[in-house]
Amino acid sequence: MPEKLQIAIYWGAACGGCDVSVLDTNEFILDVDALCDVRLWPIAVDGKYKDVEAMADGELDVAIMNGAVRNSENEHIAKLLRQKSKIFVAYGSCAYMGGIPSLANLTSRDAIFETLFMANPSIEPGNRTVPLPVSKVGGHQLELPRFYERVYALNQIVDVDYYVPGCPPVPSQCKAAILALVQALTGQAPAPPKGAVVGAFERALCDDCPRTRTQEKKIKRFYRPWEIMQDPDVCLMEQGIFCAGIATRSGCGVRCPKSGIPCRGCYGPAPGVVDQGAKLISAVSSIIDSKDPDEIDRILETLPDFTSFANRYSVATSLLQRSHGQ
């Protein structure tokens, strides 16, 4: 039995920001190195897939996977890591909820293709072909993963033990989550209950936001963030600037509203909330100051494309998961 914990950090359909957030724990990365052997971490370490395939089941103490499942390779490696690990963590908004890439679930694979190939202005005639799962070039067979019709969060593909939310998770929470796992694995503290969200709080963002809020949130219109000069000390929603904090789990330190920019919900639904978008329907509607249907419609016109605000990071795990239209 090796002395150090065996861990893997991997990315699915990801941007690399979650891997960078682990590096952003600064000196703590040296503690991680003292405690763990990092067997796979493509951004920083030279472990290859064949090294993982050669492991025994459960040989990894923890697999930390960020990024969503967009294609067959993401699914394959997620399942491989689940098989080879004792604990599997979904790290970051994409792994937890589908993330920004799951905005693609509001469109379709064909539409993506149409935009990026058929209508793309940068492709000249004679240069237009299409990437394929299997192609033959010069007698060689080459393979690419299959691009699925939609994006999945990790728990829709494998059994996930813990979730660390955020886009990306803030380094202090990353550190807290890793420490909690290390303490559980070394018997120093009980493990969090399976399925828990770790590295975040059990309350909504508004509870930690320093902006002042009154009881009477009533507005006659919404403003897009560029339409007005906002008061930096007053609740954004009260000023008519949409902010998702009201339905979002706290834990990020309120990094966006503190800097003059509204929350977009990257830490996922507040505790007890099943569908962040559904809750935001209630939240936004409740501040509209009108009883007249026509006036209500006019007020809502000042908040275009509500759907992408409702589930900005969470389309894949919203109740409907993807668009069902033609």
Binding site: T107, I123, N127, V130, P133, P145, P168, W226, R255
Partner: protein, 487 residues
């Protein structure tokens, strides 16, 4: 002797990729393919979103260079509002962006590239990484690296609210300014960062330039290509990472073209292959000629080295000194791709000097950092230098400022064809017929792409999953209807 060697996944870079190396019966390398297996489709799913949301969505194209996408996006969004921007906002954005450049270059040089030089290209993979480097150079130096990166990130965060997944730019300017007490906090760190850039250059001299074997690999090794160079320059042909004109210079130093942001489509086009999700940009006016080097090639690199190749000078004095030292060893322009690692360190000096200039600017703490746009003009272009190459965002929106289209040509994408070619060249040189390559040799094949500091999550193109098919129906000899699937 294997007929095919697969490196999967490639490591110490950002994003997914695999290299397939095909061998003939004698074991000589005949073909290599650098395949990018990932794709998410941003250019499609940002359509329909309020245009001011795009700078916060496109940052998720890449979590290593989100500031680059944020800045390019912000500029394209400004264009959609008639380019009415508070002048101070441009200064603040440039200041913020220099801080970002520094920590991103530190991360690449020390965490991704240095293991090959500090531990050695054929070291045990278990230690050939940032953790091994810290053990070898000691905690004092390791702590200094981590500290410098942390300080640059903190400067960025203090100016613009976040040091990752940027949020700060709005149409008309930025969401917050820099207060006097914040400036006083970051000014001493700027000086420390400048010192760190000098420390890094000295480290490079001690570890790389003093090692004959490494110099030999850089100067005489297979990591070289006869292709051209692209980068953003100011009116003095000095590098400007936030704004300027795009300049393309061939490998003999002659300018091929120079264009403004809104002209990009006249100069750059993209080619598609069936075996990679990532497209292959080339110089449109020369046409796609395939993977060929030479003075007539239509291929170009967009990298730190390419940026310094198209520059006649640096914008700041100490960076100029570092630039001249580098050119005296690797030439100007230089085809020696491993020189990219040095070029990154030279750029960091300019970043630090520019930060210092901004700290001394009396206007920098003014509160006029945003204006309310008065018009929606419907189209905008934003070109910046990402750490790893020229990045282009082009948007259109409707009269309600809702995005109607987005076209992106991303930093690393520019380098797709050159990376193909140099990977093949290195594989053919290092993999000997009849001798199974060990992990050290394969790592040296990976060092070819690593010099480019690639960022493959920045690849954003799609797969439909079906064979292309075009059916043309003629009626009485005249074209009647056409059906297409996937082409």
């Amino acid at each position: 002797m294997s007929k095919k060697i697969t490196i999967d996944p490639i490591t110490r870079l950002e994003g997914h990729g695999k290299i397939e190396i095909f061998l003939d019966d004698q074991g000589a390398v005949t073909d290599t393919f650098f395949q990018i297996p990932e794709l998410r489709g941003f250019e499609r799913f940002v359509v329909g979103r309020p245009i001011e949301e795009l700078p916060r969505i496109v940052t998720r194209i890449c979590g290593v260079c989100p500031a680059s996408h944020h800045m390019a996006s912000a500029k394209a969004v400004d264009g959609c509002f008639g380019n009415e921007v508070a002048p101070l906002a441009h200064k603040l954005r440039d200041m913020y962006y220099h801080a970002h450049f520094i920590h991103s270059h530190i991360a690449h040089f020390y965490a991704l590239a240095a293991p090959d030089f500090v531990m050695g290209p054929d070291a045990d993979p278990a230690v050939r990484n940032i953790l091994g480097v810290v053990h070898k150079v000691g905690l004092e130096i390791g702590g200094a690296v981590i500290g410098a990166r942390g300080k640059a990130q903190e400067i960025q965060r203090i100016i613009g609210g976040r040091n990752n997944q940027d949020i700060w730019c709005l149409p008309g300017g930025v969401a917050k300014g820099l207060k006097q007490d914040e400036l006083e906090q970051i000014a001493p760190w700027v000086d420390e960062l400048y010192d760190f850039t000098q420390f890094s250059l000295q480290l490079f001299r001690d570890i790389v330039l003093a090692n004959e074997a490494y110099v030999d690999i850089i100067v005489n090794g297979p990591y070289t290509l006869d292709v051209h160079n692209m980068g953003l320059v100011d009116e003095n042909n000095a590098p400007n990472f936030y704004h300027g004109k795009v300049r393309v210079v061939d490998y003999e130093g002659n300018e091929i073209c120079k264009y403004e942001q809104h002209e990009y489509r006249d100069y750059v086009a993209e080619h598609i292959e069936p075996w990679s999700y990532l497209k292959f940009p080339y110089l449109k006016q020369r046409g796609w000629k395939g993977y060929v080097e030479g003075i007539d090639s239509s291929l170009y690199c967009a990298t730190p080295l390419a940026r310094l190749n198209v520059a006649d000078r640096m914008a700041t004095p100490k960076a100029q000194e570092a630039f001249e030292e580098m050119c005296s060893v690797i030439g100007h322009p230089s085809k020696l791709l491993l020189g990219n690692h040095w070029a990154r360190l030279v750029e960091m000096v300019q970043n630090a000097e520019m930060l210092k200039q901004y700290c001394a600017d009396p206007e920098i703490t003014s509160d006029e950092f945003r204006v309310i746009p008065q018009q929606i003009t419907g189209e905008g272009f934003g070109i910046v230098e990402a750490m790893r190459g020229t990045l282009t965002h082009h948007y259109t929106c409707d009269e309600n400022a809702i995005c109607t289209s987005a076209n992106l040509i991303v930093g690393t994408t520019n380098n797709n064809a050159p990376i193909q070619m140099v990977t093949k060249k290195v594989a053919q040189t290092l993999i000997q017929p009849g001798k199974e390559p060990d992990q050290g040799i394969l790592n040296m094949v990976e060092m070819a792409f690593r010099a480019f500091d690639p960022c493959y999550s920045c690849a954003t193109h799609s797969l439909p999953g079906e064979m292309p098919l075009q059916v043309s129906i003629f009626k009485g000899g005249e074209p009647y209807r056409e059906f297409r699937r996937c082409c």
